[in-house]
């Protein structure tokens, strides 16, 4: 609730400085404009947590599905900073992308009587037993970067946190619509690695269906399992849809492979690229103009959010509806954004970096 009102008021404030690229004054476009600049304040929850200092000395286990993927590095930094703030230590365990490794990590956390377990982008399914075991042992488990799985609903010791995937896809869709003045032939490289990713893309598609009668959308499925085939499948998709002028890459990790695919199909000239879940490097690409637009989420905030959620579970409190700030970067609206790793980890791209203090206040460790 909190977060929503925040977004709303910021929207009203910024009416004046509207987006350069478009003329029409629809709320959608206004929202789009807002997405292109930092927030005035991060959507930090308001409900404080009691007895956090009791958690001092505990160990949080942070388990990303794989460490070989940039965004988790930033999440991890956030988690570590946040944990440090409450005097907890963080143990990182690389899921290495395999069910057995992820399970092993969770079991390790359970065996080690962890204060809490944070699973980043880990589908419940690939470690179902271990997660269940962890909960049986009374250890709070937080899953992030995954849509809630109805078959495994939240419990007092287990919760999903908010995701920004859909928001990013919708933002990209709106940008494409605006940028093409409502006449875009879009190809989406949809990641089929999991249910969540598919859902995000679907939400993005829906925007085109609802808000752009003049647009066509084709999709091309890519997956980590067949990484080596991303270029050729992109090429073939472009061959099939020779009138494509916008290519949305759901996850920037496939951006380079997609680009080679575009090159091979000889379509470099006519295609504008847009990518979601971008990290520093991709945003540099936007700055250099080789990518039209990119969305990113405030990963630093995500780290703090994970810890906040965990602390609430530990304290037995209910977990609020978080909102993860996202931003849409385009060459001419990103202004003087600092393209450095420091900036990325501080979260300054998305808003005032003071949100860490606000969290600390909530936790009573300021």
């Amino acid at each position: 609730a909190v977060a929503l009102s925040l977004a709303a008021c910021s929207a009203t404030d910024d009416k004046a400085a509207s987006t350069p690229s478009t003329s029409a004054e629809s709320p959608a476009l206004a929202a789009l404009a807002d997405l292109q600049k930092p927030l005035d304040a991060y959507p930090v929850p308001t409900e404080p947590i009691e007895g956090v200092d009791a958690d001092k000395g505990g160990t949080l286990y942070y388990i990303p599905i794989t460490q070989q993927s940039p965004e988790f590095a930033v999440d991890q930094a956030g988690v570590e900073a946040a944990a440090a703030a409450v005097g907890m230590s963080v143990q990182v365990c690389d899921g290495k992308g395999t069910p057995t490794e992820v399970s092993a990590c969770i079991d390790h956390a359970t065996n080690a009587k962890a204060a809490g377990i944070i699973l980043d982008a880990v589908p419940y399914d690939i470690a179902a037993n271990s997660i269940a075991a962890a909960q049986k042992a009374g250890i709070p488990v937080v899953i992030g970067n995954q849509l809630a799985d109805d078959r495994h609903p939240s419990t007092p010791t287990f919760t999903y946190t908010a995701v920004s995937g859909s928001a990013q896809q919708e933002a990209l869709a709106r940008w494409v619509i605006a940028d093409s003045d409502g006449k875009a032939n879009v190809l989406m490289n949809v990641t089929t690695d999991g249910q969540s990713q598919i859902q995000y893309a679907a939400d993005g598609k829906k925007v085109f269906a609802d808000e752009c009668s003049g647009c066509t959308v084709a999709t091309n499925e890519v997956s980590s399992a067949n990484f080596s085939q991303v270029p050729s499948s992109t090429s073939s998709a472009l061959l099939k849809n020779s009138d494509t002028d916008y290519l949305i890459v759901e996850f920037a990790q496939f951006l380079q492979a997609t680009q080679s695919g575009v090159q091979n199909a000889g379509a470099s000239g006519r295609i504008t690229l847009a990518a979601g879940s971008a990290s520093l490097n991709d945003i540099k690409a936007v700055a250099s103009g080789s990518v039209g637009a990119a969305t990113a989420q405030a990963s630093a905030f995500v780290g703090w959010m994970y810890v906040d959620a965990t602390l609430r579970l530990i304290a037995g409190q209910s977990v609020p509806e978080y909102t993860i700030p996202i931003r849409l970067f385009t060459k001419d609206t990103m202004g003087d954004v600092q393209l450095t790793e420091a900036a990325q980890e501080s979260g300054e791209w998305f808003g005032p970096t003071t949100f860490t203090d606000e969290f600390k206040k909530l936790w009573g460790v300021a």
Binding site: T98, V102, D193
Partner: protein
């Protein structure tokens, strides 16, 4: 390897494994050095393992010296144990690295889950079907390689890719789960703080080692691996032994896959390729343990837990993922190189 005797000189070539040549005439000093080399060639890895343990115990006592860490090291490597056992089956009869093992393993894990969860097949029936499937794969590999005479890597690499595709199709590219928790007991049931699957893996490897060391079958397998033609002339049923090895490899991979699925409650077929590397690493590192230059189950088992210890320790020290790659690679090269040199010295 074939006839290693060099006709030119009539002198024996140095032995590939146990360098027992020319031991007769040696001075005391030489004998000592030889003994040293001999020992270190066999136990250096174990020594390094102990070193690691001590190191970590000093650096991160409160996390490393816990039953939790212990259980993590010994309770989390079953998949690797089964995979390497399956790989050893064929390597020992002289077939070069079977690239289909990982995918075959994945196939079993995927099949059992899909059949049970998506198609409501009784989980035990599903398990049996899964193992049968992997066995059939083994038979096909065997027939193509042994009877038709196609290159081993081609067949297994192709089969591996093929099975990966099948697995992805079955699960329709997504992680799947939902096996009944009762079933998970075949993997997770705890004995002395370690899951049943650990003991299963242990028994498998020890049994394997026993067969190789003490039974006629084991000897025939080794001989066939050493030199096919000579074994045939000596009256070993080469064809049967070789095909048998592939079939067994299939069975083991299947059982391993089912147990893995039971343990995690599901599987992600896309991930099966991720096992290839640690699997090879452990198997080859095993040649630097106990029997230098020789593939052997016990050595492999030790290598697996050695690597697990190393990686866990690094993680406890907060190293990022690239470190463990470097560790894996570095250890593999250095350990095997050392043991090769030492083993030569000990001649």
């Amino acid at each position: 390897m074939t006839n290693t005797r060099t006709p030119e000189t009539g002198t024996p070539a140095p032995d590939t494994y146990t360098g027992l040549v020319l031991q007769e005439h040696r001075t005391a000093g030489e004998r000592v050095r030889h003994a040293l080399g001999w020992t270190s060639a066999r136990f250096s890895v174990i020594g390094v393992w102990i070193l690691f343990v001590i190191l970590y115990a000093v650096l991160v006592p409160d996390t490393f010296l816990t039953s939790g860490a212990f259980r993590t090291i010994f309770g989390s490597q079953q998949s690797l144990v089964f995979l390497t056992a399956s790989l050893l089956c064929t390597i020992i009869v002289g077939e070069f690295v079977d690239m289909s093992v990982a995918s075959n393993f994945g196939l079993a894990a995927t099949l059992v889950t899909v059949l049970n969860v998506n198609h409501g097949v009784n989980v035990w029936a599903a398990a049996v079907i899964a193992v049968v499937a992997t066995t059939v794969v083994g038979i096909i590999n065997g027939l193509l390689i042994v009877k038709v005479g196609v290159n081993t890597i081609v067949v297994t690499l192709g089969m591996g890719t093929f099975l990966l595709g099948i697995g992805l199709w079955l699960s329709n590219l997504m992680p799947i789960s939902g096996l009944p928790s009762s079933f998970s007991q075949i993997a997770l049931f705890e004995i002395l703080g370690l899951p049943l699957s650990f003991y299963l893996g242990l028994i498998l490897m020890l049994g394997f080692a026993y067969v190789l060391a003490f039974t006629p079958l084991g000897r025939n397998m080794r001989f066939v691996g050493e030199n096919r033609e000579v074994s045939r002339l000596a009256g070993v049923r080469v064809t049967r032994v070789r095909i048998g090895a592939f079939v067994f490899a299939g069975v083991i991979a299947g059982v391993g896959g089912v147990i893995a699925a039971a343990g995690t409650g599901g599987f992600d077929p896309a991930s099966s390729q991720a096992y290839l590397l640690p699997m090879f690493a452990a198997t080859f590192l095993g040649t630097a343990v106990l029997f230098p230059g020789r593939f052997n189950p016990i050595g492999t088992l030790i290598a697996i837990y050695f690597l697990a210890t190393g990686v866990l320790g690094l993680q406890l020290l907060g190293a990022t993922s690239w470190v463990s790659s470097v560790f894996y690679g570095g250890v593999l090269v250095i350990a095997v190189t050392l043991s090769t040199i030492l083993n030569k010295k000990s001649r």
